[in-house]
């Protein structure tokens, strides 16, 4: 930390951590969060000491024994102004500092590795882009920004990693995201912090931080063979999305190549940024998200695709750089028998890979 001597800082945090009085700092944001935390703690301590000193001091000086007759004082505008302006100033510093931190934690960098997380009563399911699938654990490398895209398939949950100082609610019906960059290899707590029903306290897991090399090894050892995007592609084909969303001139749906990250004008005249959340909405609530120039004919897939399936589709659409892949799916669809498509939502086949913690 640049604010105070790094040696002193290290000492303080390590000491507190050793006595289990302070969580380990295992992410890049953690020391910054702690800096603000200790600043606030310091201000509180000073404030509290001041109040205690005032009370004790006045109690001693002006107890009835020493000061039998009170001197009536109306007040003092100067003093009122002092203890209005100084706290206000301090609070505003905390506000600005806190806001800066908030925006950093909730604004993932563009190059972050995206891991999708689904919360349900009472477990966390993580989908890596490489097809690795985990339950109640999350493996991440050090030195790399990791973005989590979170959703819940039932009630509110909250994905909390105290060692990283990050937390975000997974809410039903909408994506939320958070990011971190792990710094220290090790195993850390993962908690669900939003009360979610009977086994709320069992909805815990572990965050395994690995060196980049170890992480590569883990990735290689845990993949199911298909990447998430490949699962998405299969789903895309089996749901016959490609029947409309292709690049043919007579296509009934907009071409999805390169759509991710673009600005889209909807039939209502609104302009939207195409991000993960928009793609999810467009799949589940198509009517509200019709691209300008297209008829509202897309059926809803609400209830037909699991949240993991939507993640796979989103990941697939994200990675569509040319329509070659869509052409390929058109060919495979023709080869597939009718019923098979439904049975292959992503993730189902790979559940065994998840490290289930008790």
């Amino acid at each position: 930390m640049s604010h105070i001597s790094p040696v002193l800082w290290q000492f303080l945090v390590k000491w507190l951590t050793n006595f289990s009085l302070f969580p380990p700092e295992a992410s890049k944001i953690a020391p910054e969060m702690d800096a603000l935390y200790f600043f606030m703690a310091l201000v509180s301590l000073v404030g509290l000491t001041l109040v205690i000193l005032l009370i004790l001091g006045f109690s001693l000086l002006y107890s009835k024994k020493r000061h039998p007759v009170a001197t009536q004082i109306e007040g003092s505008t100067l003093l009122e102004a002092t203890w209005t302006i100084i706290p206000l100033g301090l609070f505003l510093i905390m506000f600005v500092w806190g806001a800066l931190l908030y925006f950093r934690i909730y604004t993932p960098p563009a190059n972050a590795m995206n891991i999708y997380v689904v919360g349900k009563q009472w477990m966390w399911k993580a989908e890596h882009p490489g097809g690795q699938h985990e339950i109640n654990s999350l493996h991440v490398p050090t030195g790399r920004a990791v973005q989590l895209t979170l959703i819940s398939q039932d009630v509110f949950h909250s994905f909390s990693i105290p060692a990283f100082r990050v937390k975000r609610e997974a809410i039903p019906g909408r994506y939320t995201s958070v990011w971190f960059e792990a710094t220290t290899p090790g195993t850390y707590h993962l908690f669900c912090t939003q009360y979610c029903g009977t086994n709320h306290s069992q909805m815990i897991g572990q965050i395994v931080v690995m060196t980049p090399d170890d992480f590569k090894q883990w990735q290689a050892g845990s993949t199911s063979g298909n990447s998430l995007a490949q699962n998405g592609e299969r789903l895309f084909a089996s749901l016959s999305c490609n029947a409309c969303h292709n690049s043919r001139p007579d296509a009934r749906g907009p071409n999805l190549v390169g759509v991710y990250g673009s600005k889209l004008t909807l039939s209502t005249g609104q302009t939207v940024n195409v991000d993960d959340g928009y793609l999810r909405n467009a799949i589940l609530n198509p009517t509200q998200n019709i691209t300008q120039g297209y008829a509202p004919i897309m059926p809803t897939y609400q209830g037909q695709i699991s949240e993991e399936g939507v993640f796979a589709l989103v990941e697939y659409i994200k990675n569509l750089q040319s329509d070659y892949r869509i052409q390929q799916t058109l060919n495979t669809t023709e080869l597939l028998p009718e019923g098979e498509g439904k049975a292959a939502p992503a993730g189902k086949t790979t559940a065994a890979q998840g490290e289930v913690k008790q």
Partner: protein, 102 residues
């Protein structure tokens, strides 16, 4: 503005009531008529504006606020203020979500 005495009870004449009820009925007719005209995004604005005018008439005359004490006026205003606070600050969250990230 002349502030009416707190203990003087103002009695509104029936003619005023009659005028107001006429205005309210006309307002109702106008708002129904206006809803059949395509004014684009202005339809709900016009409908709400007429509703606000009607409500104001009711509050001022039927409910005697025009002839009431400052306290009553203040009460009405503070109610509207908190009501609008609830609606506007909640909507502010929903509207600004579409602005995307910082």
């Amino acid at each position: 503005m002349s502030e009416p005495n707190e203990h003087e009870h103002h009695i509104v004449s029936p003619m005023v009531y009659l005028t107001i009820v006429g205005a309210l009925l006309v307002g109702t007719a106008v708002t129904v008529w206006a809803s059949f005209i395509d004014m684009g995004p202005w339809n709900p604005v016009v409908a709400l504006a007429i509703a606000v005018v009607k409500a104001t008439l009711v509050v001022l005359f039927f409910m005697h606020v025009k002839y009431s004490t400052k306290l009553t006026k203040l009460t009405v205003i503070s109610g509207i203020f908190v009501f609008l606070g609830l609606i506007s600050m909640t909507l502010a969250d929903y509207i600004s979500r579409a602005w995307g990230r910082w």
